[in-house]
Symmetry: C2
Subunit: 233 residues, 2 copies
């Protein structure tokens, strides 16, 4: 399996970085090939803008998705997007590894999706959800957060964690057609003991070992909708 870990933490000594390194070791020990895309180390530019397309199909008015298609067709994608897209296309499993910022992705990682999840390659037209062009690949969120486990769930202060993550789990990864694995959440990381951290890394190893049987996030099948996306039943 080709595993792509897109890693986005500003502190190289962070626990989140240790998670990335631990996953890399564990997957490699199993014979998988792992590539790490460390967005902070690369100083990845997360801003989708006109600067991405020096040669435009429409120089007078920017429609980002149309220029993505045009640039891809003309082999004129910016180097950084082309590089990340090649990694994405090659991978069987995409892991986004990050600290939860405002219940979602840090901007540098959100922008990786904005710029690399290319119209016409990753999704497009009616190619989304179970017809998304990433079909056959798996995706997994592994992240750290300050909150504790009891703060999430029915009646908990922040309600259900996967609902908070819905625009990523369903709206991005599911939309693109990935099989979306149940996330790995490392709770309360800034406040826990060294022993608890070591234990959490062990749990992550176990999660890597048992990925085949890990729960999947469900999202709709377009078989249940007509071409205008009205529900059939």
């Amino acid at each position: 399996m080709n595993v792509l870990i897109v890693h986005a933490h500003p502190e190289p000594q962070s626990f989140c970085t240790a998670m990335m390194q631990g996953m890399q070791r564990r997957f490699e020990a199993q014979g998988h090939v792992v590539t790490v895309s460390d967005l902070y180390a690369k100083q990845f530019n997360p801003v989708a803008s006109a600067a991405d397309f020096p040669e435009r199909s429409n120089p007078d008015y920017l429609v980002y998705a149309l220029e993505q298609r045009h640039a891809q067709k003309n082999n004129a994608l910016p180097d950084d997007i082309a590089e990340e897209l090649a990694l994405l296309q090659k991978c069987d499993l995409l892991i986004l590894n990050f600290p939860l910022y405002w219940f979602s992705l840090p901007a540098i990682l959100k922008g990786w999706i904005d710029r690399v999840f290319l119209s016409g390659v990753v999704y497009g037209g009616r190619n989304f959800y179970d017809r998304g062009l990433m079909k056959g690949k798996q995706a997994w969120l592994t992240f750290t957060l300050g909150g504790r486990e009891h703060m999430f769930g029915d009646n908990a202060v922040h309600a259900d964690l996967n609902t908070m993550l819905r625009p990523v789990l369903r709206g991005s990864l599911g939309y693109a057609g990935f099989d979306v694995l149940e996330p790995f959440a490392a709770y309360h990381v800034p406040y826990i003991s060294q022993e608890a951290r070591v234990e959490m890394l062990d749990q992550l190893d176990t999660a890597v070992d048992t990925l085949n049987t890990r729960a999947r996030i469900t999202y709709p099948s377009l078989d249940d909708f007509d071409p205008q996306m009205n529900p059939l039943k």
Copy 2:
């Protein structure tokens, strides 16, 4: 009322830009003071990183929220963050105006929250939700999207739109203590007629005129939780 519109569209001629301009005119006609922070025009840097803090409280290990507090206390915030934070503190109504990217904020706007929603000023400790430090201010999302209205709701292909927006509505704006207004969604914008666009701008004018009676998004009160955030009932 001081209105701050944080605007994030890469095309200055976009319909989204027309929404920003329309709201500015309408609020000003009512005697309100409007400031527009145009993130693309400013080339706003959305990446929360060590570069934000040249003088660190802990030079050996970056904890972003702690360095935010340290820099703020020592009057050492980067100019761009200090400028946006001053606009945020002065405003009575914060409007985020943007095109929906992957069912959430474009990275340049997500990073505005990551960097400007300062620990100790916007939230902190048990100061969140109805004890968030932005209490007394209102917040409103106004955005464009490609999808159509019937694609959202019970049994619709993308389910409920506000649930998709939860990390912003509840997890960011609600968490910070804002009164969060029901969003204004401009559906199907890339595909509609000029007449339909004009009508949509009229609807936005009406929404501005009737903001006082617009529905609010509900989120928890910390009165219902103990100090460890276990539910009291």
